[in-house]
Amino acid sequence: MLSYLANPLRFMRFSRLAVPISFGLGAVLIGWSLYNGLLVVPPDERQGGDLMRAMFTHVPSAWLCMGLYAALAGASFVWYIWRHELADVAARAIAPIGAGYTALCFITGSIWGQKGWGAGWHNLILGDSRLMSVLVLFFLFLGYIALRAALETRQKAARAAAILAMVGIVNVPIIKVSVDMWQTTTIHQPSSVLSIGAPEPRADDEGMNPIYLQQLLWGFAGHSLFAAAMILMLMRSEVYTQQADRHLALKLEGS
């Protein structure tokens, strides 16, 4: 399917339909999971009472931001090897969306964690290795965007950014492991907010309360569709911009 869509014309035809559908479906699913998460399901006192409702945005965005960085590196790889223009357009579109979801994940995680550790950013950031690796991921996205913006020609920016994304993705597992080790062996509190006093496994484990899990899965599906719609929209606008440049060049040549 990907190689079918690699043709820009077919891509434009496909995305014209795909954008509104996945946008609408995603918005409905996000709305449904938020409605259930915020108003319907009972709060879990052991996980911070009403604050744990931040979970229904936090967990889907945590799953998504790792996936989006992998997608960024994948698109960069495809562009670097086969020089397919649409892959670069995709990488360029994924970066800001991915940065947005890492920020969302970090912010909602902070809100949720606030009660578990008592107020204060100090405990919040130093206490949880997972939030910390999300923060590092955010800086990886930022570096990618900044490098693209700093290089003057499109071709150069695309190549340099692709190298950076590939260097980044081989480092992501190492960063994750190292940050996990940092949390368990330092003098700072070893517990994580997800397991404070809770007899069950961590909240984003499969073993959690099925009412929560259901909303999380709806939220994840909704956010995935929503992110895909935004990425496709950015890609479409990029393709249009390039076409407009070409039209302008042709016009100037003709006159």
Partner: protein, 219 residues
């Protein structure tokens, strides 16, 4: 490939570092000055200083790698040396590696030599001295290699200092964590092996990435 381009790269980046003012005194002064500032920012309680001192030096090491790397490849791009090296096919990764290693030798390695002195000043326990020296040596190597990748990627950007920092800092995280742990836990800890692994990994991956980035910068 003849070894002469590698030698000349080594010599030129050594003389570049030497020529920029006081030579080897400069990085020594930088690290000693940073260490001297620590009591002013944190207070002079002996217990606190001995606990945070090694960590502050890790930060100084990370920052020093970025300060010196900004010009490493930019100068070669501007005076045309890069184009000459690129004509010798396949050598650019090695040359980039040599250049970063030389810069590490000149502006990262002095910290290792200074560690006993600074450590004594901050009251770091003597049994932590050897792990700290080894950690600064290997961690510094990792910093300079990943920083070199960032510098090569932004070689054609005019004022790249902050950009290099933004790109390189996330890549410093693993070496920083394992290095700090190793200083605390000693050389028998797994962190020591993890730090070795990070160093080897950076030695393997970073030169290839620098080569690709420099080839792009010269176009």
């Amino acid at each position: 490939m003849s070894p002469s381009p590698l030698l000349s790269a080594f010599r030129s980046s050594l003389s570049e570092a030497w020529a920029s003012g006081a030579g080897v005194l400069l990085p020594l002064g930088f690290f000693a000055g940073t260490a001297a500032l620590v009591p002013f920012t944190l207070g002079s309680e002996a217990e606190l200083l001995s606990r945070v001192g090694p960590g502050i030096l890790w930060l100084a090491l990370a920052l020093s790698s970025m300060v010196t790397l900004e010009r490493v490849f930019q100068a070669d791009l501007q005076d045309g040396a890069l184009d000459l090296w690129l004509q010798d096919a396949g050598s650019i990764s090695l040359i980039a590696a040599i250049k970063t290693l030389t810069h590490w030798l000149v502006s990262g390695f002095p910290l290792v030599l200074l560690t006993p002195l600074i450590g004594f000043m901050l009251g770091v326990p003597p049994e932590k001295m050897v792990p700290a020296m080894l950690g600064y040596a290997m961690g510094g190597l990792v910093f300079f290699l990943w920083g070199g990748v960032a510098a090569a990627l932004s070689a054609s950007v005019a004022r790249a200092g902050l950009l290099i920092a933004l790109i390189a800092l996330p890549l410093y995280v693993p070496a920083l964590i394992f290095g700090v742990q190793m200083v605390d836990a000693g050389m028998a800890s797994p962190s020591f092996l993890f730090l070795c692994a990070c160093t080897l990994f950076a030695l393997g991956v970073a030169p290839a990435a620098m080569g690709a980035a420099l080839r792009l910068a010269a176009e």
